[in-house]
């Protein structure tokens, strides 16, 4: 269980088993919307500017399918081991809401583009396999802003249809997950795959990757399913885990008291760390699905599917294997490096630029990762960039600068940028490795520090560091520490 888990969770989970299924919605990285030519990249446009008669749902307009969206959905389905039936179709899902211009959403109901997939991943050393019920394609809605918390109580609301019609993929998982941790790991892996295959940007905060969860509890050992509750409004991995933990405790306590669980939809409220009831089953919509008459049924030939399969980019697990096999990374390093595709790409670029694999991994996982987090700038978009970092590591590897100098330069140049070779040159930061030059300085430091010398000779090993420090000070930090150590020991006879 994660730190800060809701109290009572561990105890409840010994008696109850959670049955969890996740539904993920991912916006596709197509250039245009799903049924019209408007840009799918809507963020930052003035309200309702990224629209046309089609995505505004004007009377008389018709949808025209975006072929790229179909290809991306098939790509996703294949990456998730789904079967792609030759025949599928689109359906209308009917409900009224101001963010839904046509009064129905074009989606897929009983003949989705793909079914019967799975995703497998380790949690606490054990392999978890979660079935993927289906991956289908639909359109996103617009967005609403209310003067007030919810639409029904708002004094006024404004509609922005810039997002309406952006291709949205729905990935429905089987209720195969048993702990909030497994749910979180499933999402991490799924997001990683979508980003790797280039269909989604994996941004939970902006909602291009969204998740709803279904959870029910049952007594351990029971095969019967409990009453299912749907949770919405979780916009981080942590929120998903926390909301599920909260729900297990809430439902477990109700069951302990002999109370029934209400079948309902609940919303996660981050600030309260709690879920609140949004809609009970009696108010569940009857969506009146029926086949979309404006779009012909979709036929995906085996040929097309095989072409998409052949063009499938490397998946995260394949990369992990390759990093170990070809670059000799440990399983741990390979997993960390491949977690984010940008890191994996940076790693490969560094190696391509001549940096040793182990060294590239250490830099990326260490100081670079920290700086990227602190500055919110991934290496690729930082001032230093891949080339700068490769040059910096090169200087350190070849002994042109010492470790502390390299570290200091990374801090300095990460955001502001600059050519490390030129900076080292201009400021004379090159490492002093010349034995003759260093010998003179070492002799002087020994002469100036009799106390440290006698301490060291008396057996105090740390005293040597005071002498090394003296040499460093004298060389403005540029001395080759290894050589200084060696020279001191030679002189002091230890």
């Amino acid at each position: 269980m994660s730190a800060g888990a809701v109290s009572g969770l561990t105890e409840l989970m010994q008696r109850y088993e959670a049955v969890i299924g996740l539904e993920v919605h991912g916006q596709l990285l197509t250039e245009s919307k799903m049924f019209c030519g408007c840009s799918a990249d809507y963020i930052g446009s003035p309200p309702n500017s990224n629209t046309c008669p089609v995505c505004l749902g004007m009377p008389g307009v018709l949808p025209v399918m975006n072929r790229k969206a179909i290809e991306y959905t098939v790509r996703t389905a294949l990456a998730l081991n789904c079967e792609i039936p030759e025949h599928s179709k689109f359906d209308r899902k009917n409900y009224f809401y101001p963010d839904l211009p046509k009064g129905y959403q074009i989606s897929q109901y009983d003949m989705p583009m793909s079914e019967h997939g799975w995703l497998s991943f380790p949690v606490d050393g054990e392999e978890v396999r979660c079935g993927i019920t289906r991956v289908h394609l639909e359109e996103d809605t617009g967005t609403l802003q209310h003067a007030g918390d919810i639409l029904q109580q708002a004094r006024s609301s404004v509609v922005d249809l810039n997002r309406a019609g952006v291709p949205l993929m729905e990935i429905v998982g089987e209720p195969d997950l048993r702990t909030p941790e497994q749910a979180r790991e499933y999402l991490v892996r799924l997001r990683q795959i979508l980003v790797y295959i280039g269909v989604n940007d994996g941004n939970l905060e902006q909602g291009s990757f969204r998740c709803d969860a279904n959870i029910s509890l049952r007594h351990r050992g029971s095969a019967e399913l409990g009453v299912k509750v749907e949770i919405k409004n979780m916009n981080s991995f942590r929120a998903v885990q926390r909301a599920l933990e909260y729900e297990i405790v809430r439902q477990g306590r109700l069951l302990d008291q002999g109370q029934a669980i209400a079948q309902e939809t609940r919303g996660w409220v981050e600030a309260k760390g709690a879920t609140i009831s949004q809609r009970s089953k009696e108010y569940a919509h009857d969506y009146r699905y029926f086949p979309e008459p404006d779009l012909p049924p979709l036929q995906l030939t085996a040929d097309f599917v095989e072409r998409v399969r052949a063009g499938l980019p490397e998946l995260p697990q394949q990369l992990v294997d390759r990093l170990q096999r070809d670059h000799g990374l440990s399983a741990y390093d390979a997993a960390v490096i491949s977690a984010e595709i940008e890191d994996a790409r940076a790693f490969e670029a560094l190696v391509g630029a001549g940096v040793a694999a182990k060294s590239a991994a250490n830099w990326l996982m260490g100081d670079v990762a920290r700086l990227a987090r602190e500055t919110r700038l991934p290496l690729q978009r930082s001032g230093l960039g891949i080339t700068g970092l490769a040059a910096l590591i090169g200087l350190a590897e070849r002994g042109r600068i010492n470790g502390p100098t390299a570290k200091a330069l990374l801090e300095e140049l990460y955001v502001q940028g600059g050519d490390p070779v030129a900076v080292v040159e201009a400021r004379g930061l090159g490492q002093v490795s010349d034995e003759a030059e260093l010998s003179g300085i070492v002799d002087r430091v020994i002469a100036d520090n009799p106390a440290a010398v006698s301490d060291f000779q008396g057996g105090k090993e740390q005293a040597l560091q005071r002498l090394v420090g003296g040499v460093m000070k004298a060389t403005r930090g540029r001395a080759d520490a290894r050589l200084v150590n060696q020279l001191l020991r030679e002189r002091l006879g230890r």
Partner: protein, 490 residues
Amino acid sequence: MTPPTASELAGLLRSGATTPQDLAARARADLKRISDLNAVLRYTDSLAERQAERAARTLAEVPERAGPLCGIPFAYKDVLCVEGVETTAGSRILQGHRPPYTGTALRRLLDAGAVPVAVTNCDEFAMGSSNENSAFGPVGNPWDPGRVPGGSSGGSAAVVAAGAVPYSLGTDTGGSIRQPASLCGVTGFKPTYGRVSRYGLIAFASSLDQIGPFARSVADVAGVFSAIAGWDAMDSTSSPTPVEPVEDQLGRGIEGMRLGVPHEYVAEGLEPGVRAAIETAFSELERLGATLEEVSLPTTEAGLSTYYIIAPAECSANLARMDGVRFGLHIDRPSLTDTYLETRGNGFGPEVKRRIMLGTYALSSGYYDAYYRKAQKVRTLIADEFDRAFATVDALVCPTSPLVAFARGAKSDPLSMYLCDVLTLPVNLAGLPGISVPCGFSEGLPVGLQVIGPRFQDGVVLRVAHAYERATSWHAEQPPVPPVASGAGS
């Protein structure tokens, strides 16, 4: 005096005997003269002026680029969108709505230099068979203004019948072009589903709707069809199959053709005068060299109930966008639900509400299999049955409407109104081309002969209709001009 056809007007324009501006002005005056019929909802004067000027320039400067419709005035049904021109689908809920775009059929006509002069009245959202369901009042039949012109494209049929414009555009979901053509004594053609783009047609039932022309000659109908037909990137249900040059089919005659008479379409329920006119028409077709043979389409009986599940189901979704949020009527209430209820409750008329409710019910969880799914299966059977008939005959001939124009208010219960389309709606369910041509009179009111062809053989339908028209003079019969103003539309 017979008013000129579009082809005749094209000749006059080329000879310099008239100008597009003249023709537009005359059409405008003629439409004004029949304003008691209430067939026109609004005039498109500034658009007409622009198009007429443009056509005049083309005719003067590059006459070889001027097509047969260049400079010819026409009217179109109030369900077709033209940028900036108010388009209401005969409904209060869209009052004041000016589409921000032009639909494909209209775009193609405008590009061909055609001159739209008026938007015609119709049943609200094309739902009706008498044009009594318009929010803007009923339309009178030029042959007897106290009677209905048929529907839903009643206004488009009436303006052509009255001789005010040579042609007009309508839409046909279950007979909405052919039935008013029959009742008004003009020619009306519903092309094969998928032949004319529906982009810009305010949808009633997406899988059934099709745009088509009214005219006073089959040649004109064929010319307009050629101008608007063909694949459109904006309509995924439009067919990529190239359009056959239908004009080539005209004039070939029907000698040796095999024409089927579906006996279920003539068995019962026809008014005696309609039966007599149709039988005479059948004899004429035989005299022209066609062989008539009886065929059977037994599933036709289920056509009406099938249609009244599928069409309302689709309309219940298609009309959901009329929610008062982005365009048209908006009645503001403190809550969202009340805003929806008030806007839609006041904006839609009773027939539209009835069909939305029928469709909503048919699609509801627990009823879907019994209604919608079953209707789709029957629809397939109906289409298969037509296909089997076309294995042995080239086309089918039958009446368009079992009855002639009836008095306004005569059909007050919905079912008897729905029965008006019993001979036309199976054609929409099967997606076939169908035409109605004038074939006589019963009690002084026009009767129409319907010709139905196989999918994408629009030319066959036009060919049969043309041969019949050449051999008869019913199409040249004119209603009393000016029509007797007996209070229609007042």
